[in-house]
């Protein structure tokens, strides 16, 4: 069983939901990421989404755009992101790591070379924002052959047909983008999310993680009541951005926020 499947199965046994933090690899500096990943696990993270910085993050709001720019200023790349994941795995065998990014750097490396490198780094899932199932056949086959879960996004305007498509093409979990917009956008409408989740559940048995717009413990708790996992990105990266001269402080603020979310989600 894949690490992701095992994680969601274990959580469902105890009636808990996955806490899934997202940070951009190499932000604000390359040496920040690895200890931050371990610290997030200690604070209660079940899965880590590791952002691969890209020069043109079309689906991201300003906070994650700037995270990408800071990481790229330090020459962070797909290759170096994989190196960080490899290091992480040396001391953590449990926590799934999902790469999240855009397709271009993967194409530049070559699909097969990437799949091999991801396997060597013991990556558990790959979420590529701009690679819908229609264009993903080759990449998905290469990943699945290596037991890496291809994770697809669903949006508020995804039809039932598309949900079924993601169910067939994807594995691990489905990422539900809770609002029409970019990462870090305004506030999400809980009733809308609830309604859509019913439609999604009717068409897939994969766990559903919900993200975009989760900023505080209260929202995390509410969302955890609806989905199988809560993804939190921009709110964490805002802590990095607010403390660029003091990364240690950023780290402790991130831990604090994650702990409060964990607590709220479990209570």
């Amino acid at each position: 069983m894949s690490r992701l499947a095992a994680t969601f199965e274990e959580l469902s046994k105890t009636g808990r939901k996955a806490l899934i933090p997202f940070i951009t690899a190499g932000d604000p500096r390359p040496d920040f990421t690895l200890p931050m990943m371990h610290a997030m696990v200690e604070a209660g993270a079940d899965v880590i989404e590791l952002g691969v910085p890209f020069s043109d993050p079309m689906a991201d709001g300003p906070v994650i755009q700037r995270a990408s720019e800071r990481a790229l200023d330090h020459k962070m790349s797909l290759r170096r992101t994989l190196a960080i994941a490899t290091e992480f795995r040396k001391t953590n065998q449990q926590t799934p790591v999902v790469l999240m990014g855009y397709v271009h750097p993967i194409e530049a490396m070559g699909y097969e070379d990437f799949a091999n490198a991801a396997q060597r780094a013991e990556i558990d899932g790959v979420l590529t924002v701009d690679l819908p199932p229609e264009e993903a056949e080759e990449c998905v086959a290469l990943l699945k052959a290596r037991d890496i879960d291809p994770i697809f996004l669903l949006a508020p305007n995804s039809s039932d047909d598309r949900i079924k498509k993601m169910d067939t093409a994807g594995s691990g979990y489905i990422y539900y983008v809770s609002l029409k917009g970019v990462t870090g956008a305004g506030h999400l409408d809980i009733a809308d999310v609830e309604n859509k989740l019913n439609l999604i559940r009717a068409n897939t048995r994969l766990p559903v993680a919900i993200g975009f717009g989760v900023k505080d413990a209260q929202t995390a708790k509410t969302i955890a009541g609806i989905g199988d996992g809560v993804v939190i990105g921009s709110a964490l990266i805002s802590k990095i951005e607010a403390n660029l001269d003091d990364p240690e402080r950023a780290k402790s603020e991130i831990i604090e926020l994650l702990k409060s979310m964990r607590q709220a989600m479990d209570s």
Binding site: E107, A108, A155
Partner: protein
């Protein structure tokens, strides 16, 4: 070529290029757009409205002008200029914005967004939005806002809101990113008018079809005026919309050479250029697979060109396909050469070309002398140079 050219496939692929590489939220809107486009493509009422607008509002057909003096001076092929500079708003861009705006209206969208580099597409979009009474927001890289301030002012006069994009390299590609972000956020009421043959399917095919009027007219005009088809077509390539507009109706005429001219900036060897077809690699950006300018890690790199409208690291996927199949040839022209083209046309024919179009002029100056006097080149004069007066004056140390 015996089989008729029939690209793209129904999911927008030109061989390995093109496609629909978008975030999930945009999948529905581009499918809706495609459905609407396919419907109206064959709708006599839509076509009639489009044709009437092109005639009475844009001023089509644009002339095909035999540049006799310049041809004589260069001593080779006869040069004919397809005068897109004479269109309303001064460039070919409006052929496309008229078409897309009519689609937007039919689809019930009330808000128009666009990206722009040189500002020509922004102006052409603001123009049609004003005419149809639609809200209009134009995204423009902060660098371009500074170097094309005249067009920024024009857009504002026309009632558009111009947003200076401060992210990334602050040029056209970043404006496109920001427009996509806007679209994701406002999909329900917003129509995104892309200004070139880039973006996800159906944009590359749709924009081509709206621009193909350039080539259809030119073909008929050439037959009427010279009694035969041209031997070569030359057009500058930013995203590639004026070039594909000229080329497309000639694709099955294998005797007609097609040459796209990319911007070599300071020179291909310096790395400071905007010539993905000449010096890039295939990859995925802005919804399609095509040739891109990138570094070894796959990050898109900054481009350089004297002309804001050519300053783009990608190119329409159909050009990538035409390059690989050899049906079209792609060359490049430096900033310095483009300026020579600019001055040559201005002084020889009394026509001041846009800096983008000047790249096509400069290549024509190289090509014409290698051809016989009874051969014909059609060059797309994609726009007029009014918008570049500031840039030119600045380069020559003159304060306006």
């Amino acid at each position: 070529m015996t089989e008729k050219y029939n690209m793209p496939d129904e999911r927008g692929h030109f061989g390995p290029y093109g496609g629909m590489f978008v975030a999930e939220t945009l999948m529905l809107p581009i499918q809706e757009l495609n459905a609407a486009y396919q419907q109206y493509l064959d709708d006599p009422e839509f076509i009639a409205e489009l044709d009437a607008d092109l005639k009475h509002y844009v001023g089509r057909p644009s002339p095909l002008y035999h540049a006799e003096r310049w041809s004589r001076e260069l001593g080779g092929a006869q040069i004919y200029l397809k005068r897109e500079d004479l269109n309303h708003t001064g460039a070919h861009k409006i052929n496309n914005t008229i078409g897309q705006a009519l689609l937007a209206k039919r689809m019930g969208k009330t808000r128009i967004i666009a990206e722009t580099g040189a500002g020509q597409h922004g102006v052409a979009t603001a123009t049609v939005a004003a005419r149809l009474g639609l809200e209009c927001v134009v995204y423009m890289g902060a660098v371009d806002v500074a170097r094309q301030s005249l067009n920024v002012y024009r857009m504002k006069l026309l009632g558009a809101k111009v947003v200076a994009v401060e992210s990334g390299s602050k040029t056209l590609k970043d404006a496109l990113n920001e427009a996509l972000r806007d679209w994701v956020t406002n999909v329900d009421n917003t129509f995104y008018i892309i200004g070139t043959v880039a973006g996800p399917h159906p944009y590359p095919a749709m924009v081509r079809d709206f621009q193909a009027i350039i080539g259809r007219e030119a073909k008929q005009q050439c037959l009427d005026q010279a009694g035969r088809l041209p031997d070569a077509l030359v057009a500058c390539v930013g995203g590639g919309s004026n070039a594909i507009g000229l080329f497309y109706p000639f694709i099955d005429d294998s005797s007609v050479k097609m040459i796209g001219v990319e911007a070599a900036g300071d020179g291909i060897e310096t790395g400071r250029h905007s010539a993905p077809l000449c010096a890039g690699r295939p990859g995925v950006l802005h919804g399609n697979r095509t040739y891109l300018m990138e570094d070894d890690d796959g990050e898109i790199i900054e481009t350089h060109s004297i002309s804001a409208g050519l300053d783009y690291p990608g190119v329409g996927p159909e050009h990538a396909w035409l390059k690989d199949t050899g049906r079209a040839e792609y060359v490049n022209i430096t900033d310095t050469e483009a300026l020579e083209g600019f001055h040559a046309l201005t002084r020889m024919e009394g026509i001041i070309p846009a800096l983008e179009s000047s790249h096509a002029m400069a290549y024509t100056m190289k090509l014409a002398p290698t051809m016989r006097k009874d051969e014909i080149i059609i060059v797309c004069l994609s726009g007029r140079g009014d918008k570049d007066m500031q840039t030119m004056a600045q380069r020559e140390g003159i304060e306006l």
